[in-house]
């Protein structure tokens, strides 16, 4: 083997790749906003930006939770149903006790979601059932439970306390602030805490994680609890934002969430990607939706574009990975 001495680069090659990945989404986003704004300057108006951010907030919170699970090489398809259950729980609670402070509502929602997360996590971990199957099952079960409970009833905006609705629609965009807080906290934990790094390790190589003494079981359940809890939180945000809650709230949302995560560069087989990417993915998808309406492109294209984006994202990721792998192989490292 030929000995090549390379000066250690300052910036980690790993980080560069990841940065480039997120930069790609940012570029796409900038391009999209630029094109749309040229055709209709009001797209960049305060109200419009506000609307996009408010709509992104809910999807972003879900995407952050999903990213945590996907990083561990699992998936949580039940988030849409969890969102519905949480929204209806909180809605019913507020309907009956309008005096409840918003913070308490948020906690209740997150708690409901976390309980669902425990269920998912325990089944995945101790039942040894693949996450796809478990969460597909709980997608049905949790939705069914919500329908049972809600029946045909709908909670309308006028039945909810104004303080709560204000939380969703006030001048201060609480939803966005909350989403950003969730994002930053999760990002920091994932990047700079041992627990976070263990999640990446588990996703990168489950066997090695086991051998490295990482408490894989606890972390798996933990990841599902985070995903569930955030889905529950998103349910409260949903209730505050839309004011109308029925048993169908959040139906089909799981697809958008997974799309946001995948577009955001989180590998479906775990171990890589960041919640920043996932949140950017959510922002991009939401912005596309708004831009299409503004550009007067038939809104039917939206779904097709989302699908195309997913394929593009995973295809590009694969190409980059192949390139990087080839590059790294060539950089044989040790001295003869």
């Amino acid at each position: 083997m030929t000995a090549v001495e390379l000066p250690a680069p300052k910036r980690s090659s790993l980080d560069v790749v990841l940065r480039a990945r997120e930069l790609g989404i940012v570029l796409a986003l900038v391009l999209l906003v630029a094109v749309t704004t040229i055709s209709n300057p009001r797209f960049l108006s305060g109200q419009s930006i506000r609307d996009i951010l408010l709509n992104t907030a809910i999807l972003a919170v879900l995407a952050v939770g999903q990213a945590v699970v996907v990083i561990t090489r699992n998936i949580d398809l039940s988030v849409g149903s969890v969102l519905g259950l949480s929204a209806f729980t909180v809605g019913t609670l507020l309907q009956n006790y309008p005096g409840i402070p918003v913070v308490f509502a948020l906690l209740v929602g997150a708690g409901v979601g976390a309980a669902c997360g425990v269920l998912n996590g325990v089944l995945v971990r101790y039942g040894n059932v693949p996450a796809l199957v478990v969460t597909l099952g709980t997608l049905y079960v949790i939705r069914g439970v919500t329908y049972f409970w809600a029946g045909g009833s709908q909670i309308n905006a006028d039945e909810l306390p104004p303080s709560f609705l204000n939380f969703g629609t006030a001048d201060i965009p609480w939803l966005v602030i909350l989403a950003v807080v969730v994002l930053v906290v999760t990002a920091v934990v994932l990047r700079s805490y041992r627990t976070g790094r263990e999640l990446y390790a588990m996703g990168s190589s489950p066997q090695a994680a086991q051998l490295a003494g990482i408490p894989v079981g606890r972390r798996t359940i933990g990841a599902f609890v985070v995903s569930g809890g955030l889905a529950g939180l998103a349910g409260v945000l949903f209730a505050a934002r839309f004011g109308t809650i029925d048993a169908a709230a959040g139906t089909g949302m799981e697809l958008n969430v997974v799309a946001a995560v995948v577009v955001g560069g989180v590998a479906v087989f775990g171990g890589s990607g960041t919640v920043w990417g996932a949140a950017l993915g959510a922002l991009l998808l939401t912005t596309i939706g708004s831009a299409l309406a503004v550009l007067e492109i038939n809104q039917f294209w939206q779904q097709a574009i989302v699908g195309g984006l997913i394929l593009l994202a995973i295809g590009a990721d694969r190409l980059v990975a192949v390139r990087v792998a080839a590059g790294l192989k060539k950089r044989g490292s040790h001295v003869g």
Binding site: R42, Q47, G151, G152, A248, S290, A293
Partner: protein, 352 residues
């Protein structure tokens, strides 16, 4: 299994030339069972114990709840057995399964609001073959597969009323947009057609319909669509939403946005849902018939037909409890009556 080689499957025979096309079959598909061939006997008594089932577009819709609520009142009045079934999504295919179930359960009357005028047809005709009377309400199915249609108001009347309200709110000129339900909702489209005709008249020449958006009768979608309309059309003066879900979502969006006071919302809505927005000034006026009366009338029409009082032919008359006497119009249509306009002054008188 060893000796059973796969059998060659002829999927569907391909004719060598000149296949079956839409134009070649035009008019062939209208054959419908004439289940109402019998003679009407106006004096026949209303049967008791009739099994009357309601199949709305979807459950969990407040408007629907009010409609079928009226139906239940009527069914109780005539001592029938009331039943409510329906899908959780407004899809045609799931309605078909429910119709099939109702056939199996041998109902006497099915009152249905069709999600797709054609998709439910074969099943409804099967029901009619089985002797079940089919009354459509709210959203009609094809004429060939139901016995009567309870029309909430004449299409013409609603279309005119929508344009009139929009014109008043816009001050006679400016851009208006429509936020509808789904693009294939029969009732929505016929109202919009009338609106277009009305807008073409010289009196309304300064009103410009810039866009028809579709919120699919989903709260969140309608909300987002309202947002999109206001972004795309800065000079928009009025959003007309002839659907209860759409008008509520649009009002909620506008009431909490910077557009409040600048853009007017009107259309067809439920007083209970709209009260808040009427009181906070987002909405000046909107209209609706009483949805409970639709369900109520459907029960009486179904019962009358099942009892042999009417067959669905034009000109037949029957009495619908507290609503009084109705006459069947052309194509089996029964018109409920004119819509009511709701404003801040009168809204507290209504509770539905």
């Amino acid at each position: 299994m060893r000796k059973h080689l796969p059998v060659a499957v002829a999927l569907l025979a391909l004719t060598a030339c000149g296949g079956t096309t839409k134009s070649s079959t035009e008019g062939q598909n209208t054959a419908a069972p004439q289940s109402t061939a019998g003679q009407a006997n106006p004096n026949a008594p209303l049967k008791e114990g009739l099994k009357i089932a309601y199949l709305p577009k979807q459950l969990n819709n407040p408007y629907t709840d009010v409609e079928v609520g009226g139906g239940k009142v009527a069914v109780d009045e005539i001592k029938g057995a009331y039943k409510l079934v329906g899908p959780n999504d407004a899809s045609a295919s799931s309605q078909v399964s429910y119709i099939n179930t109702l056939i199996q359960q041998q109902q006497d009357v099915i009152a249905v609001a069709a999600n797709d005028p054609n998709a439910v047809c074969p099943s409804l005709n099967q029901a009619r073959k089985a002797g079940i009377k089919v009354i459509t309400f709210d959203s009609d199915a094809s004429k060939t597969c139901r016995d009567a249609f309870i029309n909430q108001a004449t299409t013409q009347g609603i279309g005119e009323s929508l344009v009139k309200m929009a014109s008043e709110l816009a001050g006679g000129e400016g851009e208006i947009a429509v936020l509808s339900a789904t693009p294939n909702a029969t009732n929505q489209n016929s109202w919009i057609e009338v609106m277009k005709t009305e807008l073409a008249k010289p009196a309304n020449s300064k009103l410009k319909l810039v866009k028809i958006a579709y919120g699919n009768d989903e709260d969140q979608k309608s909300f987002t669509e309202a947002q999109g309309l206001l972004q795309s059309y800065p000079n928009l003066k009025v959003i007309v939403s002839p659907t209860t879900v759409g008008i509520a979502a649009a009002s909620r969006y506008v009431s909490a946005s910077s557009y409040k006071g600048k853009v007017a919302i009107t259309g067809l809505g439920l007083p209970n849902q709209m009260r808040q927005y009427v009181k906070d000034g987002t909405v000046k006026k909107f209209a609706l018939w009483n949805p409970a009366d639709i369900g109520y009338l459907a029960a009486y029409a179904g019962a009358a037909m099942s009892s042999g009082q009417i067959t669905g032919a034009q000109g037949e008359k029957f009495t619908a409890g507290k609503l009084g006497e109705y006459t069947i119009g052309a194509d089996g249509e029964i018109v409920l009556g004119p819509p009511t306009e709701f404003t801040a002054e009168n809204i507290d008188k209504f509770n539905f």
